[in-house]
């Protein structure tokens, strides 16, 4: 029997019981649709997690000076006076995996503008801070290399600071006083919102690190160096290069510990990505269960169908159908059911994830992989659950089958 004829015959057989065929397919439709939708939502979630982590700066490294030890008393990290501007300069020139470097220091204090005042942190940073944090000014402009070299008394306000000190006017070009030192506002940063810990990242003032060192902290050493690797893949390389460079520059003997610490955020990024991947797998496996149930539905109906059509099988055998002809016939019927269900399921899954992303506002991603996966899965389900009933039909004894009432 030619395969095309069998396929036509399978369609006719399924047509004879439209309602039953549809309900059988419904199991597969729901299964495939659920797998596609869940994968789309999971991958969408993964994407937005990655996006959020990228905004933290996954390729950022922060170098702190080591902790100071006096007798038995250890002071916290960053207390040692080991990081210098020259270190920062050396990292910039000698570490090829490093893209941007921003020396940093910090001061706190009361900021006054006109009759308003506000307590905030003042970050002394380099020009490349904007590139490293991917954080630009919304109004005005970032300070220049010239400002750094000349320890210019200029500053950039975070949005929270700007809103509190200049509620009604444009801060750019105006003066503020930080711990009685007058600074000219040259720009306002874009809003960044809360960080992962819930702190307001916009409650900040940026100023040239040279100015902060000289005018505010009165402390000639850097509190940190902010570095970005050329890409997030190069983080490890950059970290290694910086470690080697700084150990050499600080003349640290081979078995001595570092006098600095390097932190990166890739651990956080990896953890978050892993979490969202687990979420995707979880969603998909829950959806697969419904596909499995759909497959059992196919098996159930095919078994009923074989019993119901025992006499037909007998007739076919009496006119010359071999066991394998009967096997093929029922296997193809099961396959047609699961494939049709699979195709309809894919359409519904795609439509469903569009609707969900429209209503809930979540990003959803339908990949060729998820479509191929669920399509392949439905073929396997059809073959697997169709085989047993088909084999049962093929092994029937023609005499008994013909007599079956």
């Amino acid at each position: 029997m030619k395969i095309l004829n069998i396929i036509i015959a399978a369609f006719r057989a399924l047509q004879r019981n439209k309602m039953r065929s549809f309900l059988t397919m419904l199991g597969i439709i729901i299964g495939v649709g659920a797998v596609i939708t869940m994968l789309a939502i999971g991958q969408g979630a993964e994407y937005s997690v990655k996006e959020q982590i990228a905004s933290l700066g996954t390729n950022v490294l922060i170098i702190f000076p080591g902790s100071q030890q006096q007798g038995g008393l250890r002071v916290g990290a960053g207390s040692m006076t080991t990081l210098t501007e020259d270190d920062a300069q050396a990292i910039r020139t000698d570490c090829p995996a490093v893209a941007y470097v921003s020396p940093g220091t910090r001061a706190g204090g009361q900021v006054i503008a006109g009759n308003l005042n506000w307590a905030t942190g003042i970050e002394g940073v380099g020009v490349e801070y904007a590139q490293i944090r991917e954080w630009n000014v919304q109004y005005g402009e970032f300070f220049s290399d010239q400002d750094i070299k000349g320890s210019a008394k200029v500053c950039i306000l975070g949005r929270t600071v700007a809103d509190n000190l200049f509620p009604d006017s444009d801060p750019v070009g105006q003066n503020v006083r930080i711990r009685n030192v007058p600074f000219k506002v040259v720009g306002v940063l874009t809003r960044k919102g809360q960080n992962a810990m819930g702190q307001d990242q916009d409650d900040i003032i940026l100023a040239p690190y040279t100015t902060v060192l000289m005018r505010l902290s009165h402390f000639p050493y850097l509190r940190q160096i902010l570095v970005s690797a050329t890409s997030s893949k190069n983080i490890e390389v950059a970290q290694k290069q910086i470690t080697e460079l700084l150990r050499m520059r600080h003349k640290i003997a081979r078995f001595e510990g570092d006098d600095f610490t390097i932190r990166n955020q890739s651990d956080l990024a990896n953890a978050a990505t892993a979490t969202s991947q687990i979420l995707t797998i979880l969603l998909a496996s829950i959806a697969s269960v419904s596909l499995l149930v759909g497959g059992i539905g196919i098996m159930n109906i095919m078994l009923v169908s074989v019993t119901e059509r025992t006499r037909e099988i007998g007739i076919r055998m009496s006119v010359g159908a071999r066991g394998r002809d009967i096997l093929t016939q029922f296997l193809i019927e099961a396959l047609v059911l699961s494939l049709l269900g699979g195709i309809i399921g894919i359409i519904i899954g795609v439509a469903g994830s569009k609707v969900i992303s429209g209503i809930a506002g979540w990003p959803t991603f339908i990949t060729a992989f998820s479509i191929l996966l669920s399509f392949g899965f439905s073929i396997i389900v059809g073959l697997f659950f169709g085989f047993y009933p088909a084999r049962k039909a093929a092994l029937l004894n023609p005499i008994d089958a013909l007599r079956y009432e």
């Binding site: 006499r311 007739i315 076919r316 006119v319 010359g320 159908a321 066991g323 023609p398």
Partner: protein
């Protein structure tokens, strides 16, 4: 085996002399014997009990014969029919159909023989429901290598032979019992089989329709088709040219029916149902 089948096919295509005359030409080819059965034994095992359904049956059938097999239920005639139709295998003894030792074949090979050499007509018609007459007749050709075009042509031709050419797209439930049985006969004929096996073909039909069906068989037999008919009705058997009676798994008698009834003539004397209603 293939060569044997080719021969068988060319045989069935040859024009045969009228059935009533003896067949001297045929005796040269294939010894003239279409079926040679020797000491056939069939034992069923029902748990511990052995049932001896056939206890040594020997019979020969020549091409072009019209044999009626008779006997009470339990006489072994159904078992014999199943073996004759290659649906079952003998426990002992030989069965040679068209020079092929059928008793030694495997399951798939038996399916092949059923497809090429045997046409079945059953008591309960055994048509596929919700499937047109034409498609029912086409069924055996689905399992042989025949093009779609040839399959349709041959099926229409077979339906024409049984006088149903104007009903080819009817479904079984739109046909009368006699018409359904004629569709079944067309299905049995479509692959040019060596024998047509009819198992109680009139069992579900009223007396006039039964005669009509027998008329079809007689016409086919006149065309040279070998027919073996199982029946327990002496009335129906009287249309056949040879009577074989089974009892207790053996052949009790095997006689030529010198004066078979002619169904076409009987039909003239039996009024149709409509006429009876009018009367």
């Amino acid at each position: 085996m293939t060569a044997g089948l080719e021969e068988g096919k060319s045989m069935s295509n040859t024009k045969l002399p009228p059935a009533n005359s003896k067949l001297p030409d045929e005796s040269k080819a294939l010894n003239g014997k279409l079926i040679q059965i020797d000491h056939l034994v069939r034992i069923y095992k029902l748990g511990e009990v052995e049932v001896h359904a056939l206890r040594g049956v020997s019979i020969e059938v020549t091409k072009g014969e019209f044999v009626a097999i008779m006997g009470a239920s339990g006489s072994g005639k159904s078992t014999f029919m199943n073996i004759l139709g290659c649906l079952d295998k003998p426990t002992k003894g030989t069965y040679i159909l068209d020079n092929i030792d059928v008793g030694s074949l495997m399951r798939d090979e038996l399916a092949f023989i059923r497809n090429k050499k045997i046409g079945f007509v059953f008591q309960g018609f055994n048509l596929l429901s919700r499937t047109t007459a034409l498609e029912n007749v086409e069924l055996p050709l689905f399992y042989s290598s025949v093009t779609n075009k040839e399959r349709k042509e041959r099926s229409i031709e077979a339906l024409r032979k049984v006088g149903l050419e104007d009903r080819i797209y009817h479904y079984p439930n739109q046909l009368s019992g006699g018409q359904q049985q004629r569709v079944a006969i067309a299905r049995a004929l479509v692959n040019d089989p060596s024998i047509v096996l009819a198992d109680e073909p009139t069992g579900n039909l009223d007396s006039r329709t039964s005669v009509e069906v027998m008329e079809v068989f007689q016409k086919l037999n006149e065309l040279g088709i070998t027919i073996i008919l199982v029946t327990h009705e002496p009335d129906i058997a009287s249309f056949a040219k040879r009577h074989v009676v089974f009892r207790d798994g053996k052949i009790k008698s095997d006689k030529i029916n010198a004066n078979p009834r002619i169904a076409a003539e009987v039909l003239k004397t039996v009024p149709s149902i409509e006429e009876e209603d009018e009367a």
